[in-house]
Amino acid sequence: MIKSFWLKWSFLFKFRLFLGLILFIAVAFFLYLKIIPFGYITYSRDYTSKFNSGKGFIYGFTPAERVDLKSAEVPLMIGDPIYFSLFTPRTFDKAKMTIVYRDNLSLNKPLVEAGVLVDNTVWRYDLKPVDNKGLDYLMLTWHKIEENGRLFLQKNDNYSSLAEWEKDLASGELKDCAGGPGNCLAVYNYTPPYNYQMTNYRTAVPIAFDKPLRGAHQFYVYLKNEVLRLDMSFVDLNQGIKPAPIEIILSQNNKTITTRRLDDANLSPGSGLIEEKQILIEEKNLPAGVYKVEIKISDDVVIKKIISSVDRLAFINKVWPVSSNGELTLYTDADYLQVKALSPASLQDISFGGQEFNLNETYRQFDFKTSAIEKIKTIKLKKDDVILENNGVFAWAPSSLFNPSLPKVDRFFSVKTAAKYIVADYKKPSEEEGFKTATVEFDLKGAYREKGKYSFMISVPGLKIEDSAKDNLEIYEIKIELAGRTLWQKIWQ
């Protein structure tokens, strides 16, 4: 049969058949790589290799000024943060990133984190720990227990297991801990089952915050048998060309209670014509406790005014006051402040905790640390349009200030604090001849994907190009293992 076939057809026909078969196999191979029918694939980039046959899947680091490509054979991260995109031919549910690096970072930059973009309106990345030298040090000096993938550290050996400690935490009575768990517990990448109780509670009074704030903000409110009414006014500046929707999310313990959304018809993009908008949130019969309000807006929108039924309202981590036309006084509970001015008109001397700090350059983030010992520090601004950030909370009045979140083992954490227990969801990276290998996992179901690309970030908080330190992070390899639904699951489920 085969013999008669070979004899029957001409050499030209058989040669064409052979070449056609090669073409068919090549097309089928690339279609297989496009569909990924088994739902699992690994993409990697070895930065020591100079040969690349194609564009690859892991794109170059941006912004270019934060990466030194000339001084070494591999990219050196010299500024924080850096970003890279991952092209995927289809969507996936999970990503496991393995990063091989060598850190030449000083002790005041103990953190390395990696994240995936989950919200492109407020540019929020879901950050996961890569390296935490503070925890690495405490693992050697404190009593360490690893249980259910969590790291539990105790200054004194009070508990034999994490479960035993969690039982005491639920009852609010931890051993060797005066003043409640909030005073002796620190966390990292972990939220314990802990309910904040306000110690100096007083009946709430209605208040109007009429200091305009630009861009996305989040704040806590504390309720105790009170109605929550938030009447918020916004101004769409229409300076950008993209639509500027407004979304408000009210939540408690990461569970959404209600959301409000106001879409933007974007009738006059880039015109500079301002549009006023309003959103009202009214919730009765909410149980006592802390609630988080997230205002998701772009920088093209200003929160003009918030009329609140409760005055215990503290902004989380960041405020960007604008258009106040005068001096501003704010209060914070953190002893450091990151300040960035976006226009020369905003350069000034800032008073923080009674000390003067000079803000003398635009688009540069300044770190100001006060030695004030008061729990609440005053910030006095002569001009607005500066972005203020820290790991604490901000308020316009000392009476509004409260911070329900537990201290974090971040770059400002000190072992001299009152913390006696640390719980973290953290795994120390493995190290061999100075090369560290860390693995982090991301949930891609909620991740933002545009034009087939996921956006990733590598962050070393405090790493700056401008400072004189020669700190850097040498990145040798990034490997991303992706897992998602199989072709059969996509068809039949």
């Binding site: 040669f15 064409r16 073409l23 690339f30 496009k34 194609g54």
Partner: protein, 60 residues
């Protein structure tokens, strides 16, 4: 003589094949961007196609 003709034919067929290969890959790229380029630089294929076309012309 017959051997030369056979070689010419093979070179011509390879040129046709590489041209079709290139157009199919470009078509796939247009429908699903990056399906090929992520793995393979089409410039190499274009170069091969060009060279085979050139050899085919010279031999003719």
């Amino acid at each position: 003589m017959a051997k030369d003709l056979a070689i010419n034919m093979i070179i011509r067929e390879i040129f046709y094949f590489l041209s079709i290969f290139l157009f199919v890959f470009i078509g796939l790229e247009m429908v699903w961007p990056n399906i090929i380029l992520a793995y393979f630089n089409l410039n190499y294929l274009f170069l091969l196609c060009f060279l085979s076309g050139l050899v085919s012309l010279i031999k003719k």
